[in-house]
Symmetry: C2
Subunit: 268 residues, 2 copies
Amino acid sequence: MTMFNKLLSDYRQMIDGALEECLPDEPGNTLVEAMRYTLFSDGKRVRPLLCLAFCRACAADEKNALAFACAVEMVHTYSLIHDDLPCMDDDAFRRGKPACHIRYGEAQALLAGDALLTLAFETAARPGRLPPEANIQAVATLARCAGYKAMVGGQSLEFAAGGSVHGELMDEIDRLKTGRLIEAACVMGCIAAGAESRQIDAASLYAENVGLVFQIVDDLLDGDGGRDKNKAKARAAYLTEKAKQALDVFEDASLPAAFADSLLTRSV
Amino acid sequence: MTMFNKLLSDYRQMIDGALEECLPDEPGNTLVEAMRYTLFSDGKRVRPLLCLAFCRACAADEKNALAFACAVEMVHTYSLIHDDLPCMDDDAFRRGKPACHIRYGEAQALLAGDALLTLAFETAARPGRLPPEANIQAVATLARCAGYKAMVGGQSLEFAAGGSVHGELMDEIDRLKTGRLIEAACVMGCIAAGAESRQIDAASLYAENVGLVFQIVDDLLDGDGGRDKNKAKARAAYLTEKAKQALDVFEDASLPAAFADSLLTRSV
């Protein structure tokens, strides 16, 4: 196991432990069961890992960013639950298991999504090691990146476009739907470290490029024929370089850099 | 027009103006249209009015509470949109108009609800006249009162119980589903005024009782036969007195007191 993989594995454990504390099991409570079902369903934890990685890149203790990392993963999870509903993508399976609404019914899945989104903001606002200004900045960042001008706006555009999405509109949807929440993750990591604004700007630029790479690789892994395969691979490599070039304002950017490479070469 | 009604009318104008600023029209943007469709659909604005009234009762300028008042109305509106969806109550009409999902389709209605919930937290976190501690306290209060242990928890319980709800379970559902968001409104008004904790506690107690009255009167106006009508009226009057008794810790509680009376005697 490389040092990078060992660190990711340690971070994943920290994140899972913190999520467990945010939403402990309540046997017999259907809503909590439905929330936990998708939150603990073997996700890659890309967004919370990026959040911790950027906190570390700003030379701060990554534990400072743990609550923000949990918040961004909750927002991601809620978006998956709502995306899978019959009125949206109508997906019966998610991560090899029945989707939340198949397991718990549509109403409880809808509510589980709503509750996770709400818990995300409660978690980001929770007083901890940081000054209250940092919590407020994190809540505002998360809300802006998840809101109608960003993530939800992208979901709405994608649904309105139906199946026939490609070219610039597809890039715009990817940027809004995937890129902006990745931006929230990276920027919240910087906020947790009390970063300077040029570091926050750099994290945004990194996130924009990495978000596009993430989506391109997703499409390639899905065997999506909408794009020329070799052209798509070359573009992903180019965007990864651009992402890494944004990192020179950080104390030690080895972790976000390795992360960008790993997202480019991932096979799942 | 009584002074109380004149004040409510002024407050409503302030609230509608502030909501308009939070979510300006974007012609051609379906998601924004769907959000605005329900947000500006002639609601009574009970929760934001209570928020301003409690700020005033703590002897502060009610404008301090305007962003929080908008936030709580957005949460209320999102809950209505999701409640009306086919997988929940399946209501085709809301406030005399087609429900949001009838007008814009289920997917856009789902996303409009998600986006309003997100915008609520963005609005509550927006830096304004208050110290950041107040924003954080407001975000935390709103999230707690709207979350899985409160409002969404009540919706989940109600759905799980099906049609056969009465007695203590019905009170518990009303308390969670309606009372807790009213609590958020009253408490956030106090937070905006920099209130003492005994005033916040009193606002919570007031809200708990007023929330039950609100639901009892709703059921009576709906002609709901689940409760003995005279018994229900007597209980509503008793709870209104209890709510008003909680108010003696405020500088000038005439407004929340008149509000409690008006909720008891309302006919719409």
